[in-house]
Each structure stands twice: as C-alpha cells, then as structure tokens.
C-alpha cells in the first residue's frame, strides 16, 4: 500500500523508528520507564522471578504438583503462584518486552528469522540458560531485578551482584572463545 511507503519515507518516522538510538538515549529512556514503573506499581522492574512459575505452570498441565515446594509457599508468594500467565502482571510485562522488540524491529523493516549458526551455539544456549535460571533463583534475581533494580533501590546487594556477575562474564568470555564459537 502506498500509505506505508509515504510513512516509511517520512523524516520523523525515520528518526524515531528506523535509526538506532545512541546508548545514552537508551539509558535515559530506560530510567524514565523504570521510574514510572516504580511510582505506579511500587516495585522496581524485574524479569526472571516469574520464570520459575512458568516452569511450574507448564508442568502442572502434565500433572506436576508444586504445592509442597518451600520456594512457592514461602518465598515466591507475591508472584502469582496458582495464577496463570494471562493473570500474572510480571509475565505480561516480560511478554511485552518481546512484542515491543518485535514492533521495533518491524518498524525499522529489519525483521528476519535468524537460525542458530551451529551446534556449539545451541549447546551454549542450553548451558547458559540453565546457569542463568539457577543463578537468578539463588541470588534473588537477574541483571534487571538483582542488579539494575537492586542498585537503584540503594541495596548493597546490587553492587555485590555486579562484581560477581562481572567475574562470571570474564570466565564466560574465556569459555565462549574456547568452546562455543
């Protein structure tokens, strides 16, 4: 349709939707959304906490039962256990990250399905995913909840998290170059 070609060549559209933003603009906008999120919900942004629930919900469909798990009874009580994906705000926010990025990629006409390069990369995704999931559960969160939000709420735990996440990233880089490329 012609209208979309006109939109696509519009100067403002190109500026907002087609060109990448400088990192500093990303930092400012993320901060603004973090602050809005904090003032409206009373909690900072977190991503990984609800993923254990996703696992539990999926396994429950196949007869799994997690009612006697200490974690779901004592720790993760706020995070909608016993609920479902469509009634879980944090799950919906995670899905929003995915769709927001999809929209952004399409608006720039850059969307393409990208296949994994090789088996090593897939192995890296499997092991890396497991390590991130396990690590986030015992350290109260991921790069967003424990690190970004932890530091921003003035908790020293965020800085400790950052130091050890950096050490992990260094070891991970060595492993990446040796085994996964």
């Amino acid at each position: 349709m012609k209208i979309f070609d006109i939109i696509n060549n519009n100067k403002t559209y190109i500026k907002i939707f087609k060109k990448s933003y400088p990192y500093i603009i990303g930092a400012i906008l993320l901060s603004i959304f973090q602050i809005i999120n904090f003032s409206v919900t009373g909690n900072p942004w977190g991503v990984s906490g609800v993923l254990a629930n996703w696992g539990a919900w999926i396994l429950e469909m196949f007869g799994g039962n997690f009612n006697n798990w200490y974690y779901f009874q004592e720790v993760n009580i706020d995070l909608d256990y016993g609920s479902s994906f469509l009634n879980s705000p944090v799950s919906i926010r995670n899905f929003g990250i995915l769709v927001g990025a999809l929209f952004s990629t399409l608006a720039a006409s850059e969307f393409k399905f990208k296949k994994p390069k090789n088996g090593r990369q897939i192995l890296g995704a499997v092991i890396g995913g497991l390590l991130m999931g396990y690590g986030a559960r015992i350290a109260f969160g991921c790069n967003i909840g424990a690190l970004y939000s932890g530091i921003s709420t003035l908790s020293l735990s965020g800085w400790i998290y950052g130091i050890f996440m950096f050490l992990g990233a260094v070891i991970g880089s060595k492993m990446l170059m040796k085994f996964f490329i």
């Binding site: 904090f38 990025a101 390590l131 396990y134 790069n143 050890f164 950096f166």
Partner: protein, 223 residues
C-alpha cells in the same frame, strides 16, 4: 546479454528484498497490542499497565541496542566500555528517581516502596551472580536480552528461554537448601540505613562515578 539481464533482474530482486517495507506488519502488531491492552484492562488496570510498560522496555532496549551482557563482557573481550558507561548512567538516573519517589512516600507517611529488593548478601548472592554472568555470555543474552532477541527473530534465544525456565525451576527446588545454609546467615545492607536517604543516594552515585572513571581509563588504555 541474456546473462546480463538475468543478473540485473537478480540484483533488483535482491534490493527489493532488502528494502522491503515491514511497516504494515508493525502497524498490525500495534493494533493487536492495543486490542490486547483493552482486554487486559477489563481484567485489571495493573495487567494493562504492565503490558504497556513492557512494550516500552522492549522497544527502547531494541532501538538503542542496549545490552547488559555486552556491557559486562566487552570490557574484557574488546576493551570497549561505552555500553558499560551507558548502563552506569542508567543506574545513576534511576537511583535518583527512585530516591525522590521514596522521599515523597516518606513525607506522606507511606511505607518505603521497593524494600523487597533489598535482599540479604551471602555466598548464594556471589555464586548466583557468578553463574548468571557465565550463563549470559555463553548464551548470548541476559534475561531482558533473551526476550528482546526472540522479538528480533533469533531462534537461538527461544532455546535459551526454555532452559532459563528449567534452570529457574531447578533453582527453586534447591532454594530451601541455599536459604538454610547461606541466605539465612546473609545480611541486608540498605545504604540509607547507614548514610540517611540522600546520603545513601550520594554514596551510590560516588560508586557509580568512580566505576565510570575507571571504565573510561580502561578503554583509553585498551583501545
């Protein structure tokens, strides 16, 4: 001649593919997102708000190529710290905003929001963050990055997400052991408890500025 024609035809097709306009699909996603927002709003305001803010986070992460993994990996791998410094700026701005919101809540006599994120520091923090750091580098994406990359069309991150979920459940199963042995002995340190609310913010900003300077010097030395 014929061959030439064939060649230029291919060239045109190739160009057509590259400049193919995906704006209609973006418009479609936008409309579906709005309808979904209305559906969620009927259930609760909260759900619709989380949906909207999630879209904003995803859009900005993608648009600015904001990658926490690269910000922690590149200083070691390439010596570049430009993303590291952008992340530090985000920490600084967000902590200023959060502190103002806390101050407003305190003056209104409300409880301080966000205190659930002040968590005990123990060996579990160090080990968990360390394994998380390894995981995000070898899988090529952190938690937010994994969702963003799936949206960009990467199939690899679908695998990462599946195993992130498996790992989360595994960690949840073992959580009690970690709590009994380590987390219960950990200490919560909230900077305002030591320095006062604004003193705590200043302490946080001083740490950020020091790391920022260090990162800049590191890059100048390495690149």
């Amino acid at each position: 001649m014929n061959e030439n024609n064939e060649h230029s035809k291919n060239e045109i097709n190739k160009n057509k593919y590259i400049i193919k306009n995906q704006t209609p699909y973006a418009a479609g996603i936008l409309i579906i997102s709005l309808i979904f927002a209305i559906y969620l709003h009927k259930k609760s305001f909260d759900l619709a708000f989380y949906w909207g803010i999630g879209l904003c986070f995803g859009f900005v992460l993608q648009k600015s190529r904001f990658c926490f993994t690269a910000s922690f990996r590149d200083p070691y791998l390439t010596g570049s710290t430009i993303l590291t410094r952008a992340v530090l700026i985000a920490f600084a701005l967000t902590s200023i905003g959060f502190t103002i919101i806390k101050y407003i809540n305190i003056t209104q006599g409300n409880p301080v929001p966000g205190m659930d994120y002040v968590v005990p520091i123990s060996l579990a923090t160090a080990l968990g963050a360390f394994t998380f750091g390894i995981g995000m580098v070898i899988s090529g994406g952190c938690a937010s990055g994994t969702f963003m990359r799936i949206g960009e069309g990467f199939q690899l991150q679908v695998i990462t997400l599946i195993f992130f979920i498996v790992g989360s459940l595994w960690g949840a199963r073992d959580y009690q052991w970690w709590e009994e042995n380590f987390i219960s002995q950990g200490i919560k340190i909230y900077l305002p408890d030591i320095f006062g609310l604004f003193g705590g913010l200043v302490a946080n900003l001083i740490i950020i500025i020091l790391i920022y300077i260090l990162a800049k010097k590191w890059e100048d030395k390495k690149m």
